[in-house]
Amino acid sequence: VLTQRIDYLLNMAKRIHNRIALFRAEAGLSRKALAEAVGVNPQTIGFLERGDYMPSLELAMQIAARFGVPIEVLFSFRPFPAIAEVLRQAGEAA
């Protein structure tokens, strides 16, 4: 909790949620491959996926471009719904 507090004070930023791990798994990419594609360390991709690092706009746009999706599909201020929940809702709608 203290670390989170200090991190918040240092960054003064809203938490940004992302779906990088999901898109990466779907594309069959390793962390290393994605890292090489966007020019960062594989650890940075790991920290990004875990939400421990907030990317710059440039990096966020590069990752979104790599997956061919708009940036807001990959990043959001609100937590993304679980896939199971999305599928259930889609099933109910159909």
């Binding site: 962390r31 650890q43 940075t44 990096l59």
Partner: protein
Amino acid sequence: MTYRANPVLEKLDRAVEYTGVPALGRWSQRALPLPFRIAPALLIGVAAIALVARAWWGLSLIMLIWSISGGLYAFGPLRTPPDGQRDERERQLMRDGHFAGMAVTLGAAIIGCMVFTFGSAFAILGWSRIWVPSGPMDWAMLALFLMILEVNAALMAGSWMMPRRLRDESGSDD
């Protein structure tokens, strides 16, 4: 390499991994959190003692601590990667770590100047004997102490700001 078939070898393998040395060899571990928080604090403490001791060994000890700090920095979270290229997260960590180091050093310099001011004034009045740098050697030691403070405070801050380790440091998993 991890042994999975032999339980004894697997345990030995885990024990060696726990030391962090194999990870350092792979250059995948960006921080050994505990050593890089405790060791800089110890170095700053010993340097402060050497500074105020005013003994003949003070300058030698401070120079030795400066060398150790350099070695510690080379293995710490703010070190330069083997290819010399830091990505944006590593550059941010570097900036934030040194910002913290500079802030601590600035604070120490301001407090030190105030202490020296009052120390000199009280010494004239004969009220106290607070240590005040007087000769070139004292000032040289003080300069080295401030350098040690900056580097070690930056190391501690960098280690503090590093996220917890990833389960797979190699980054090659899915």
